[in-house]
């Protein structure tokens, strides 16, 4: 029987002990003493969230294909266990072997959202690894960061030994081989980091020196060692079908957020929405072939026994074989008790047809993401969705039997006016009116429900809006109130519902998203004062953060509401995502003029991603 790191007493006194015992179906079992490299792969949030993340499972599967590597999983202990581990001095352990993380060669942390930063410090702290890279010795694991937030790693620079910028499939083999070579030759972690810093996509923060101007912006950002590259280019898989996928995903015992087989159908996006970081950093769009996906769908359903399969991508309607794929899934699996869970699709005859086949129309709702309330502002953000399309889609859906519609918006977008905000209520009203115009009284099943919700806009690095000033907390709330007021004036207000997100978290997210190295002290201070699980509303304590900013002498407004000059050096400028700064600048200027940019399939706009020599950029040039 496997040995467990925690005693029965502890496991029986915490919520969901299954979070900590491992042993799930398809968990990889190896003898740790027979591998050269032990890799602890961490998602710094609770098990149910972390186990729903696709990227981590892809890398877990890929690393464990190597006989000389044993990759295991680590998640944040929930607050109940966190307390007990500190009390009893129990070191954080990996689920597979239940061995302390401290004994591993690598601790790789995927950084998916800003609000997990204090959980990263929790992981290091509970593992008894010094929080600062500078304080670590040869007895500590090499701490690697990756994922979307690694595209601006600077607020976390102090806490990591290296960052991997881009898609994980390409450079880890070289990194592992390098590690083995360094170890064999008796050299130390410093030598390893020095060599690793020369590998493509690898950023070792300690080898860079930042100087600041008097106004607090960056003056220079340069290597402080010979042979260290000035810019780091993101890593990317040129042809997705060449990369292995997850043949045997782990099947958790407890219900996790993503409790199903997930097929990644493509990476990247052709749309070019100007607020969207993923749409910019994952360029160019690359698709999987239909055959590849069919094979993995069969294999993954067989190996997991899941009763549901879903598709993952940024904009699934743009996948060129979508019809064939969905038809295949329905024909092949639906009769076998497998549910097909569709991603949000552009509403048209095809999507309504398949939706009616795979879901209960009466219970499901239709989702549109106009993001802004007027056509003018939708042009500013380059969201190609028009009112006409929304209303036409809604009308078709109402005829198909649906009567619930969800609308997603953002507030605080650049150039936004009162008219744009009121447009949110007006658009919701028009959707409701469409229902009453289109559907005769006798055919209505209940009344229409239109649920509009808005989140607050956070400018992100590597988007055309990276120059944008953010609203203050008060401005955000004022804007939400004005939308809410407008909803109250609507004729169909009983059919409409409006909700908005929390503004405190948004401000903090804004600081962390575009933060520099000076922000690290605030994160550490907030953690020391008890901040943890900040992405969980019930645990988020804004006052702790506000005090931490104050005590560290760091100004929030500098990162959020400040107007940035076009030529300002940003903390993330040393990273090359393929999409050029010139393109982003051009897009920012076009946004200010309300001009739209066509999508990648309509016309190439010269963003720079063509330099990767793959994907949509070369679709029609064979």
């Amino acid at each position: 029987m496997r040995r467990l790191a925690l005693s029965d007493e502890i496991l029986l006194s915490v919520q969901q002990p299954a979070r900590y015992i491992g042993g799930e179906v398809n968990m990889c079992i190896k003898n740790p003493s027979q591998v050269d490299i032990r890799f602890a792969m961490c998602f710094p949030d609770v098990y149910e969230i972390g186990m729903s993340h696709l990227g981590m499972q892809i890398l877990y599967d890929m690393f464990n294909r190597r006989d000389d590597v044993y990759c295991e999983r680590v998640f944040s202990p929930w607050t109940d266990l966190d307390r007990l581990m500190r009390q009893e001095q129990i070191p954080l352990f990996a689920l597979e072997s239940q061995d302390p993380v401290k004994n591993f060669d690598f601790l790789g942390i995927t950084i998916q959202y800003e609000m997990c930063y204090t959980n990263i410090l929790q992981i290091l702290d509970l593992s008894k690894i010094p929080l600062h890279g500078a304080d670590r010795t040869d007895g500590d694991p090499i701490v690697i960061g990756g994922g979307p937030c690694a595209y601006n790693p600077e607020p976390l620079a102090d806490f990591f030994d290296l960052f991997y910028i881009g898609e994980g499939e390409t450079q880890y083999d070289r990194l592992f081989d390098l590690y083995k070579k360094i170890r064999r030759s008796g050299k130390n972690r410093w030598d390893f980091l020095k060599e690793a810093a020369r590998l493509p996509g690898i950023y070792v923060p300690m080898f860079y020196h930042v100087t600041y101007k008097e106004d607090g912006t960056i003056d220079s950002f340069l290597p402080n060692q010979d042979g260290i590259p000035k810019t780091i280019s993101k890593e990317l898989v040129q042809s997705l079908d060449d990369a292995p996928y997850i043949a045997n995903p782990i099947v958790p015992f407890i219900k996790v957020t993503q409790d199903r087989v997930v097929l990644e159908i493509q990476r990247g996006c052709i749309r070019g929405c100007r607020f969207c970081q993923a749409g910019n950093i994952y360029r160019p769009l690359r698709e999987h072939s239909l055959e590849y996906l069919k094979n993995y769908a069969r294999q993954m359903l067989n190996s997991t026994g899941h009763e549901e399969i879903s598709l993952s991508s940024l904009s699934s309607s743009d996948y060129s074989c979508l019809k064939e794929l969905v038809t295949f899934l329905i024909n092949e699996f639906q009769g076998k008790g497998v549910n097909i869970s569709l991603p949000s699709l552009r509403i048209d005859a095809f999507s309504l047809d398949v939706m009616s086949k795979v879901q209960d129309v009466k219970k499901s709702s239709l989702t549109f993401a106009p993001e802004a309330g007027t056509q003018r502002l939708r042009d500013v953000i380059n969201k190609g969705l028009t009112e006409e399309v929304i209303l036409k889609g809604a009308a078709e859906a109402f005829h198909g039997g649906w009567n619930r519609v969800k609308l997603y918006f953002m507030l605080g977008l650049p150039t936004e006016t009162l008219e744009d905000r009121e447009g949110i209520a007006l658009l919701a009203e028009k959707v409701a009116e469409t229902f009453y115009d289109e559907i005769p009284k006798e055919e209505r099943h209940g009344k229409v429900q239109v649920l509009a919700s808005s989140s607050f806009f956070v400018p992100k690095p590597f988007t055309p809006f990276q120059w944008a000033a953010m609203c203050t907390r008060e401005e955000f709330l004022q804007r939400a109130y004005s939308v809410k007021d407008k909803f109250k004036e609507m004729k169909n207000k009983k059919s409409l519902k409006y909700t908005y997100h929390d503004a405190d978290v948004t401000v903090l997210e804004g600081v962390l998203a575009r933060g520099d190295r000076k922000v690290a002290a605030v994160i550490e201070r907030a953690y020391e004062k008890g901040a943890l699980y900040d992405s969980w509303t019930e645990h988020f304590q804004n006052q702790i953060w506000m005090d931490a900013f104050e005590e560290c002498g760091v100004e929030i407004d500098f990162y959020t509401t400040r107007e940035r000059e076009l030529d300002e050096v940003f903390p993330w400028d040393f990273i090359d995502t393929g999409v050029t700064r010139e393109f982003l600048k051009r897009e920012w200027e076009k946004a200010m003029k309300g001009q739209v940019t066509p999508n990648c399939r309509q016309q190439c706009s010269g963003c720079g991603a063509r330099s990767f020599e793959g994907g949509v950029c070369f679709e029609n040039s064979n």
Binding site: E9, L12, A18, G23, E24, G337, N339
Partner: protein
């Protein structure tokens, strides 16, 4: 065709709750490609029901799940097929065909056998004294315990629900208690409650984690209340050759 599967749940699997075990077995059926019957309707589900929920922290070699299948291989081959897709700690012990008229396991459960051991550091100082006292305790006319209900607390007599209790020794010579108690929807007695009541009667306190519980068998009653005839659920089915 009705099938009854008996399985063991041991090791770290004892931390997996009843609802999660049900979800676990649904996926097991698919991985092992058992030709299970699905319900009709928009979201069909497998025809599957469990006998008696096992508390978190308790191990067992007598868990039962009933399923309906459209076709099946021999018992021996099905046991192997299912065991091939299980995780450590779960093991199918038998796969038997039930008569078509058989009632669901859940509805026939009447009693269960448990073995209770004291965790190290929690054992009684004097075992002989412990068991002598326990014998006397069980000789009483009635054994009253306080039961918390929605309306407050109520005294109940648990004596009729204790069918058997004896001193036993494990393979490595450690003292343990074997007990048979009422189980199921009509009456259900948690075995640790007996020990707790006994210890309280002697002024001792049973620590929260003091007992290690293991379920050995689950029974149906094939006779009347007065003189019960307990039959292991497994024996109500037959092997498929």
């Amino acid at each position: 065709m009705k099938i009854r599967i008996k399985f063991a749940k041991e090791g770290a699997m004892k931390f997996i709750g009843h609802l999660d075990m049900m979800r676990y077995f649904q996926k097991v059926m698919r991985r092992a490609q058992v030709d299970i019957r699905y319900s009709e309707g928009f979201s069909p589900h497998q025809i599957m029901s469990f006998a008696a929920p096992l508390g978190v922290g308790v191990t067992s070699r007598a868990e039962y799940v009933d399923i309906e299948v459209l076709s099946t291989d021999s018992s021996e081959r099905m046991v192997k097929r299912i065991n091939d897709v299980l995780t450590e700690g779960v093991e199918v012990l038998s796969y038997k065909r039930l008569p078509d008229t058989a009632a669901a396991a859940m509805s026939v459960v009447a009693a269960a056998d448990y073995t209770m051991r004291f965790r190290e550091g929690y054992e009684p100082e004097d075992w002989d004294d412990f068991f002598r006292g326990l014998d006397d305790f069980l000789q009483q006319e009635s054994i009253l315990v306080l039961k918390k209900t929605k309306k407050g607390e109520r005294q109940i007599n648990i004596k009729p629900w204790i069918y058997k209790l004896e001193r036993d020794r494990s393979e490595n010579g450690r003292n343990q208690i074997k007990i048979r108690v009422a189980a199921g929807s009509a009456a259900n007695l948690k075995p640790e409650l007996v020990i707790q009541a006994y210890m309280e009667s002697r002024g001792w306190k049973l620590g929260e984690f003091a007992l290690l519980l293991h379920r050995d068998e689950v029974y149906a009653n094939q006779a009347g209340e007065e003189e019960p005839d307990f039959c292991p659920l497994e024996q109500m089915g037959e092997n498929i050759e």
